[in-house]
């Protein structure tokens, strides 16, 4: 199905199942431990062996020699595979640093060997017996130091602008300029990367934990140098990804090599410290924001520049993207510069670009509002735009940022906010902060197959993944709505490369694109049903388990017949994203308390108001936003990969050192969804929320801390050491 005109009325609009607060259909499997995660697949008749990875002990250099003799002799060891022995491999399309192979070390904990043994414990013990002689090289590990060497990236869209920023900024009656920084962050999802590889002849079956089945399959084929068709990949349940499982990772490659060498099915999980230094992370940024405005608050000039670093051949963290679209202003510029660093690969983490970009921009907006003397909610409203400010002929498909801000301000009792440092309860300095949320709506083609059987049950098959988001449920809702069934008559099978290729989970495009793909497949199935019954497909109605045309009604089960019927299609996207800017919007409101003595910041309440098209399921959507707000709390207050700039690695590489929020950090959270649809987005008229919920949260917290204390911190995370110097005397 080609989607190239705005959606008109369609069966989804009935909203009998779609849009309803239906609990996850896979929830019981998960709460009872029956949802099988990658490492847990266990066939009692299969003699699994266990692979344990060895990571490079240096950040940059070459392996001169590697001694595996002791490891090979260790109890239970079946095979040892080393990177030099495997040799340089072709790199997957989506990988920047190589995953395994060759004697070069590009970053700390890059995989250099895998030890296979009868038990996990034996493999782990033997792995420590490998000794490596390195030729260590000097590397570059410090973004601030490398800033001057940063260059304009060759690809992407590093620079943009409109009007004449410099002149307008100079001429503006009120101007503002500040620098901000965001640290390297880790996805730190609960389920570590894990794979089981099984070879049968030249065919490989891989159970893994992947957000993007087809990307992984292609890149694994490239890396192993095998035919893609020979790889069968399965990832039905995923314990979180946040972008860390978008691209093929070392566990899959190591498992494949290990299984080949040991001639056994092999399980490989990456140990927790590998999550930080072996896989990818959100790269640190240094950002500069300049805003010029009139005294009435109208922005006349806005500039946002960002510096980040990555491995050679990598990409910048696109932290300026939202600034191209979020606020009006005739004169504008954005620029991204990229330095070469020898830290582990930087790459996508939930809301790449916007998450760190808004961390800076939305503090700057707060600072500028104060400078002009306007309420920060009002300042944002004044500078709303209904068109792409860089290409004013391009309207937004639908944009209700103002509604989010106003609804949130009302609901949060924003008007009670006082002057900075003016509100105190006991030892707590109390403050409120606001920030806008913004994230684009992205489209990828998405396919699905739907089967109707003689029991009247519809089964959906697509390689879409559910990374904890609720894909199973919204896909079932979509099929149920389209076929006029209740949700218990729909089964959903996901995450299998034998199924049609979907959009996958990432960039908050999964929900809208994958359900639109199911929609398209259901349209095909409806046609098949109509055709079989000799109905005119234009006037058939699918409702209550029946298909009706005029005064004829046939139960779906009967229509299916003993052979059943199948519909399969892929949704393809026309140029509506070019003619119209499609984005999602929101407003975050936060109240914090800061301990007057210690500077510990603790969140008291949070509210997110989201405008993201049709909400397919308010329960799963809310859960996405709550999780995102929680992640934003971590980003604001504690999450930082500490770089050892001498030895070139992230030092706090476990969950004790890398502090994500715990329950006690997250008190009252509320989510409001604006009631809207966006017919330009898809037949579902939905957009994404999973990343929107994160965008802006950290800045709202930062602004609340400022309002509580009068201390402006521009370098995340806002830990107490950055506050105590400015807090009132207590002794």
């Amino acid at each position: 199905m080609q989607f190239d005109r705005p959606a008109t009325t369609n069966p989804i609009d009935r909203l009998k199942v779609v849009g309803q607060p239906i609990r996850r259909i896979d929830g019981q499997l998960k709460t009872t431990g029956r949802a099988m995660y990658a490492y847990e697949w266990h066939d009692t008749n299969t003699p699994y062996a266990y692979g344990y990875p060895v990571g490079a002990a240096i950040a940059k250099g070459r392996i001169k020699s590697i001694d595996i003799s002791a490891a090979e002799k260790a109890p239970g060891v079946l095979a040892v595979v080393t990177a030099p022995e495997v040799g340089e491999r072709k790199k997957g399309k989506f990988n920047t640093a190589k995953l395994f192979g060759g004697d070069q070390v590009q970053h700390y904990h890059q995989a250099i060997a895998v030890v296979v043994a009868e038990t996990f414990e034996q493999a782990r013990a033997a792995a420590t017996l490998i000794s490596v002689d390195y030729a260590e090289e000097k590397g570059s590990f410090d973004l601030r130091q490398a800033m001057d060497t940063a260059v304009k990236p060759a690809s992407g869209d590093p620079d943009s602008g409109a009007g004449d920023f410099d002149t307008a900024f100079k001429a503006a009656p009120v101007t503002f300029e500040e620098s901000y920084s965001t640290p390297d962050q880790s996805h730190a999802m609960m389920e570590p990367h894990a794979s089981i590889a099984v070879w049968e002849g030249d065919e490989l079956t891989l159970w893994t934990s992947s957000q993007m089945i087809d990307w992984w399959r292609s890149d694994l084929a490239t890396t192993l140098d095998v035919d893609k068709e020979k790889i069968h990949l399965m990832s039905p349940f995923i314990g979180g990804g946040f972008g860390g499982k978008l691209f093929l990772r070392a566990d899959a490659v190591l498992a494949a090599f290990a299984a080949k060498a040991a001639k056994r099915p092999v399980k490989v999980a990456l140990p927790r410290p590998f999550m930080m230094n072996n896989t990818t992370h959100r790269p640190a940024t240094i950002q500069r924001v300049r805003i010029g405005a009139q005294r009435d608050g109208k922005i006349t000039a806005i500039a946002h520049e960002s510096w980040s670093g990555d491995q050679p051949g990598g990409q910048p963290e696109a932290a300026v993207m939202q600034t191209r679209l979020l606020y009006a202003g005739e004169n504008r510029m954005t620029a991204m510069r990229l330095a070469t660093l020898d830290l582990p690969e930087g790459n996508a983490m939930r809301a790449p670009g916007e998450a760190p970009g808004l961390m800076a921009l939305e503090i700057a907006m707060d600072e500028m509002a104060e400078k002009i003397g306007i309420d920060p909610v009002e300042f944002r409203i004044i500078n709303d735009t209904q068109v792409d400010p860089e290409k004013t002929e391009r309207p937004f498909s639908y944009r209700n940022l103002i509604g989010c801000l106003k609804t949130g301000a009302d609901h949060f009792n924003w008007s009670a906010r006082g002057r900075p440092g003016s509100r105190r309860e006991g030892n707590w300095l109390i403050g409120m902060g606001v920030a806008a949320a913004f994230r684009n709506n992205i489209h990828f083609p998405s396919g699905a197959r739907v089967r109707l059987n003689a029991e009247g049950v519809v089964t959906v098959e697509t390689d879409m993944t559910d990374i904890g988001t609720g894909s199973y449920t919204i896909i079932a809702q979509t099929a149920a709505e389209m076929m006029g069934l209740t949700i218990d008559k729909v089964a959903v099978q996901l995450g299998d490369s034998r199924f049609p290729v979907s959009a996958g989970s990432g960039g908050q495009f999964g929900a809208n694109c994958s359900t639109a793909g199911v929609y398209a497949a259901c349209v095909k199935l409806r046609e098949a049903v109509s055709q079989k019954l000799g109905f005119n497909s234009a006037d058939v109605i699918f409702e209550n388990g029946e298909v009706r045309s005029g005064n004829r009604a046939v139960p779906l089960a009967e229509a299916a017949g003993s052979k059943g019927l199948v519909g399969e299609d892929t949704i393809q996207w026309g140029n509506l994203t070019e003619t119209h800017q499609q984005s999602t919007f929101g407003a975050h409101f936060v109240e914090v308390g800061v301990d007057v003595a210690t500077g510990e910041s603790r969140i008291r309440r949070m509210l997110a108001v989201c405008a993201a098209g049709r909400i397919l399921n308010p329960v799963t959507a809310r859960s996405q936003v709550l999780g995102a707000m929680t992640m934003g709390a971590g980003g604001a207050l504690s999450e930082e990969l500490a770089v050892d700039t001498r030895r070139g690695f992230f030092v706090n590489h476990d969950l004790a050192g890398y502090e994500v929020p715990v329950h006690a950090d997250i008190p009252h959270q509320e989510v409001i969804f604006m009631d809207e649809t966006d017919p330009m987005s898809s037949p579902m008229k939905a957009k994404g929320v999973g990343e929107l919920g994160l965008c802006g949260v950290s800045a709202a917290i930062a602004n609340a801390i400022y309002n509580a204390t009068g201390i402006r911190v521009r370098h995340y995370p806002i830990t107490l050491d950055k506050l105590i110097g400015g807090l009132p005397d207590v002794a």
Binding site: A125, T598, A642, D654, A656, A664, D665, V730
Partner: protein, 316 residues
């Protein structure tokens, strides 16, 4: 993890004897620290002596009205014990500020005192660390040292002792009772129990090879207000950046120990006497010889401010 043998000791004497016969043996109590370190091969005992079955899990009042806490009493049970909550509130509060419910259910009194540092370089066997591998160097000095010690440090090591419970034990003048491998017993004041790093940061206590803890004894209650204030980046499940354990009397006198600043619970008796004069004077007495790094200099301020809050709370 290296392969090891395991035995379950049945009496204090048997445990002592087992330890005497194998200098590479280690005792295992709750295992919440030891097993993690063994998995990473930071600890590599060839033999484990399980001391859970020795009957050392009781809490009894002593003849002089103090409290004898068996070495194997779980942190959860100790924190919940009626006498502890009534008379040694500081201890109860320090315990529940540590780790998580699940960990406290396993962790023991002795194991908690003997838990090892959380210095991240200590945990990464690719990195030089004098505590893990004597003579290899200290990666934290000049590296990531935000959590590290500011006082009592040496050029060899700037690690902290991470225990919350030990801060309370220090402020409460606990005495550690031990059995040596030759069968003899001794009592060690908590102040003498842990060592500063000096040139031998891998030696953390004055326990001799094979010597093990049988109990920790508290003197009769001091009265006063018992306050434990743990300062950290997140609200729970994090080690202290700085912590203050204090017992403060109505007249402002009292006792105070500080966590997160040194290789051992930091207590200076001279500082106790300054308490009535307030946080500033007391903190400067406590941290007089501090040698912070660029990254943890803020702890000096933080100790004073947190102590100020504790003193104010005691007055309320």
């Amino acid at each position: 993890m290296r392969a090891f043998t395991y035995e379950r000791a049945s009496s204090v004497e048997a445990a002592a004897k087992a330890a005497a016969s194998n200098p590479e043996a280690k005792f295992i109590a709750g295992g919440t620290n030891l097993l993690d370190l063994m998995k990473l091969e930071i600890e590599t005992p060839t033999h484990l002596i399980d001391i859970n079955g020795l009957g050392l899990d009781k809490i009894e009042t002593t003849a002089d009205g103090g409290l004898r806490i068996g070495a194997l009493v779980r942190n959860t049970d100790l924190a919940a014990h009626e006498t502890v909550r009534r008379d040694y509130g500081l201890l109860s509060r320090a315990l529940v500020a540590g780790a998580s419910g699940q960990l406290r259910n396993r962790a023991t009194t002795a194991g908690n005192l003997l838990q090892r540092t959380r210095c991240p370089y200590f945990y990464d066997t690719n990195q030089p660390c004098n505590k893990r591998q004597p003579g290899s160097g200290c990666s934290a000095i000049g590296g990531f040292s935000r959590q590290h010690a500011v006082v009592g440090t040496s050029d060899a090591c700037i690690a902290t002792h991470p225990s919350d419970m030990a801060i309370a034990m220090s402020a409460l003048d606990a005495v550690v009772e031990t059995a040596k491998s030759d069968g003899s017993r001794r009592s060690i004041p908590i102040a003498d129990f842990h060592r500063l790093p000096g040139d031998t940061p891998h030696i953390e206590t004055i326990l001799e090879s094979g010597e093990f803890i049988t109990a920790v004894v508290l003197p009769p209650p001091f009265g006063g207000k018992h306050i434990y204030r743990k300062v950290r980046d997140r609200a729970s499940y994090a080690f202290a950046i700085v912590s203050i354990g204090a017992v403060i009397q109505q007249d402002g006198t009292g006792r105070v120990a500080v966590g997160g600043v040194a290789h051992k619970p930091w207590r200076i008796e001279a500082a106790d006497t300054e308490l009535p004069k307030g946080a500033r004077v007391t903190a400067s007495a406590l941290l007089a010889d501090a040698r912070p790094t660029e990254q943890n200099r803020f702890k000096i301020d933080l100790v004073e401010r947190a102590l100020g809050a504790v003193i104010a709370e005691a007055r309320d």
